[in-house]
Every structure is written in structure tokens, then in C-alpha cells.
Amino acid sequence: MNSEINHLRELENKSIYIIREAHKKFKKVGVLWSIGKDSTTLLWLCKKAFYGKIPFKVIHIDTGYKFKEIYEFRNKYTKEWDLDLVIAKNEDADKKGITPEKDHFECCNARKTEALKQCIKKHDFEALLLGIRRDEHGIRDKERYFSPRDKQFKWNIVKEKQNKQEGDSDFIAMQDTEFDAWGIYATDFGPENNHVRIHPMLHWTELEIWKYIQKENIPMVSLYLAKNKKRYRSIGCECCCKPVDSESDDINKIVEELKTTKISERTGRVQNKENHDIMQKLRHLGYM
């Protein structure tokens, strides 16, 4: 038990170090809060890093399609934790009638990506803290703690080398300078970037997040707890999430469930219709 607490403390220490590093290196920092378990834990860590009061803005991207429990939770804890909340909403999406029923992908793009772009521009954010984890998805396995995004919001790993001499490589690596084990992170990526994404929880797993929530007694949206033998493992927009079979109606049971489950965390997320059809074809051909 002690070794488990020590392990969680190590995870926490590293995250807090990165959060403080971000605050020191960048003038305008924001933390993204989707109200899910990861970003709420990130907020908790930010609170701990600065002794209770988060010194930067907290951004909630409001797609307009979130569960009502998410809005209730947001309103309650914005007051209780004295957050400087910014609600980012792309009003154009409503005017243009972009809905998840028409096209999930277009909807996500307009209501999440575009809303975030508008928010970064409006508040001139230099850096954003996000609660992503490496174990969530293949591409995130390759992410870094400090990760620049270019003007197109793309993750750039290299830039073309100017004034090249014979024998030089064509490119300069922008991301290979992260000496994670020594706590040394590259934070200056030059003016060609739009902003830097900072991922203080990259090294956590889903199970560790829940163990930490259990240990710290962090408040969570009730959707994660089973009702009528169903619960959500991943939450977001109501139309794009489906509950999974589960009897875990408290945090202790969730921790036990995750120790043995073989079901992926993102199983409950809906895909767009075209992708759905392609997956059916792949199943038909035996690829899945």
C-alpha cells in the first residue's frame, strides 16, 4: 500500500513540476477543462501546484451538446474552486446549423477545434495545459510534455534547416530535446508556432488516475458511476458517448474493475457514419 502511495506521489510530483514550469516559462497560460476525470484531476493538480488558487484561466470548450451533469458540475466547482473560467463556444456552428446528427466529424471540428482556435486568438494564449495520457490512444503514445502547434494547429516535429552546410541534415528536430528523466524540457519553439501544448499527465494511466481520485477524494461527475448496470468510462457530448456495462457504482469498485477489464476506454465513443461503414467492411473482410 505504501509503495502505491509513493508511486502516486511520484506521478503527482512530476505533474506539478511541469505545471509550475509552464507557469514560469509562459506569460499567457490556460488549462483546458472538459470536466472529464483527466482534466478535473489536472485542475486538482494545478490547485495543489499553487496552494489552492489556480493563477491562470480555465477554459471549457462548450459544444452545446454536453451532458447536463457536466454543466451542473462545471457551475458548482467554478464557484467552489474560485476558477477564472472562460467558456469557449463557436457561435457560427449554431448559425450554420452544424449538428452531430448531420456529421459527427464536421460537428467536432466546428464545435471543438474551431471554438478552441477562436478562444486562443481572443485571449492570446501562448500555452495550454491538457490532461491527455499516453495510454489513451496510439498517437498520444508519441506525444511530448511540451509540444508546439504550428499556425495550422499541427504538431510539428521538424523544421527545415536554413543556411545548411555540407553534411548537415535537411531538418532541425524540434522535439527531440526533451530530457524527461532529468526534468529538462524544451519550451522555446520559435515564432513560427501558434501555441505550445503542455501535457503534465502524459505519464499517467487510466487506472492510476482513478487510484489518485480515490486517494485524494477528488469530486467527479456522477456519470462515471454505474446506474442500472451501466456507466460512462469516457464522457463528452451526450450524442457521442455510450455507456459500458458495469456494476461499479463507487470509486473503489471502478478501481477494481479497471484492474481486470479488457475493454478499451474509448469504446463508448461514436464514430462518423463513413468510418462506421468502413469498419463494417473491415469486419466483413476479417480485419477486425
Binding site: 496510439g138 474509448r266 468502413i278 480485419y287
Partner: protein, 257 residues
């Protein structure tokens, strides 16, 4: 107008079918006489996603880490692969490159071309199979007639699906003939040429590595599976190609200066 180097990828094309039916496949017959050709023995497992990725990144599967079309129920995209492809590298060197229907992901990837392939690279009906051959060939010829390119890469995915579902049946040869005609239309537009498959094909259970289950989740019984012997035809290429990653090297060597 043409391409200095034309690469034609044919998913799952095998000498087993071509050689046995060479008199019905006039373009392959001509190429076997006029160009270098050989069986390319894979040194990696014959799964399409990693094989095509190795071919165009020059990296081993354990280096590019792209193992499957779907991970955790999510379709993988170009952004999920942390590697530079040959088209990325040559474009940065100011070469004119286009790539059409490259099946390392589903739907297949297009570089510098706006295109949507019938069947999304996983066609299961004759309509989708015919649609892919027709549309991919049409688009390729349209580009090659209009533009002077350094490199043009185009792939066909249908033989793989047809062979999985119909290995041993007449329909397989029917579509090899259609591919043969498509190649006949394309080859005059390339000064140098590489024709390659990502793996070969054989009857189910014959291969050393079983890549798919005999019975799919929708209850379909598969008749054929991937084999580690791919086809390779080259014209005007100096680099020795002994594995899929050598294709990347061979293309890069052509544009060394």
C-alpha cells in the same frame, strides 16, 4: 507530360496467378520480357498496413509502429504515424510529387490530390472493385497527361479483397486482366518504373503467417491469405531492391541530386 518515376503498387498481386496465366495478361507478359522482374521475399510479416508503410518510409515495422488499420476501435490516419514518407521528404526538396490511393491506411491516402476512391480501399462488391480500377486509372491518366512530375505513385487495392473472398475462382483472373489493362494505360507515362505488391497471396492455411481469421465476424469464410512472396518489376532503376524498405531507398536514390 509524364512522371520521371512511376510507381504502381498492386496490393496482394502474386506471380502465382500472373505466371500461370501469362498469355492472358499481355502487359505483364511484355514487362516480363522487357523489364527486370523477380519475386521479392518479405523480411517482415505480410500485413498490408505495416508493409505499405515500410515501403514508403524505409522503416521497419518496429520503427514506424503502424501495425493495424484500426487501433482501439479507431481508424488510424496519416497523423497517427510518426514518420516521414517519401513524398514528404521529396516535396521538401522541391520535387514535384503526387500519390494516389496508397493503402497504408483506410480509406487510402492521397498526397497532393483530392480524390475519394469507390469502396474506400476495402471494397467488397464488384461495383466497388470496378469503380476503384476505373476511377484510379482515370484520375492517374488525367494527372499524368496534364503535369510534369518527378514522382507519381498509384496503388490498386482490389486484388487483395477479391483474393481473400474468391481465391481459386475465375473472378480472380478476371480482375488480374483488368489490372493488366490499367497498367498498360499508365506505363507509357513513366520514364522509369517500379511495379510492386506489398505481399503475395495463397490459399488459406498455406501461408507461414495467418493474417486473418478463416471465418470473419460477419460469418464470411475467407478462401485465401497473404503470402510473403511479393512481385517486383523495375525499369531504369539502379538500386537493388531486396525488401520493401529498399523501395524507399531506390526512389530516394533516383532523386539524389
Amino acid at each position: 507530360m509524364s512522371a520521371k518515376l512511376l510507381v504502381i503498387g498492386i496490393d496482394a498481386a502474386t506471380w502465382t496467378v500472373i505466371d500461370k496465366n501469362i498469355d492472358s495478361l499481355p502487359t505483364f507478359k511484355k514487362l516480363k520480357k522487357e523489364a527486370k522482374n523477380k519475386a521479392l521475399i518479405l523480411d517482415q510479416k505480410p500485413y498490408s498496413a505495416p508493409c505499405w508503410t515500410s515501403m514508403f518510409t524505409g522503416l521497419k515495422e518496429e520503427e514506424h509502429k503502424h501495425h493495424e488499420f484500426v487501433v482501439d476501435n479507431i481508424l488510424q490516419t496519416r497523423e497517427d504515424i510518426n514518420a516521414n514518407f517519401i513524398w514528404d521528404i521529396l516535396t521538401r526538396r522541391k520535387k514535384k510529387v503526387k500519390a494516389l490511393n496508397i493503402p497504408f491506411i483506410v480509406p487510402p491516402y492521397n498526397f497532393n490530390i483530392d480524390f475519394k476512391v469507390p469502396g474506400a480501399g476495402v471494397g467488397t462488391t464488384t461495383k466497388e472493385w470496378n469503380g476503384e480500377i476505373k476511377e484510379v486509372t482515370k484520375k492517374s491518366v488525367e494527372i499524368l497527361r496534364k503535369e510534369d512530375l518527378d514522382l507519381f505513385i498509384v496503388c490498386y487495392t482490389i486484388l487483395d479483397k477479391i483474393q481473400h473472398l474468391h481465391w481459386g475462382e475465375e473472378i480472380v483472373l478476371e480482375y488480374y486482366k483488368k489490372i493488366d489493362s490499367a497498367i498498360r494505360e499508365l506505363t507509357p507515362h513513366g520514364e522509369k518504373l517500379i511495379i510492386i505488391s506489398d505481399h503475395g497471396f495463397c490459399s488459406f492455411g498455406e501461408a507461414r503467417v495467418q493474417t486473418l481469421p478463416r471465418k470473419t465476424k460477419t460469418g464470411k469464410e475467407l478462401k485465401g491469405d497473404h503470402h510473403e512472396e511479393a512481385i517486383l518489376i523495375t525499369k531504369g532503376i539502379n538500386t537493388n531492391i531486396n525488401n520493401l524498405r529498399d523501395v524507399f531507398k531506390a526512389i530516394k536514390n533516383e532523386f539524389r541530386n
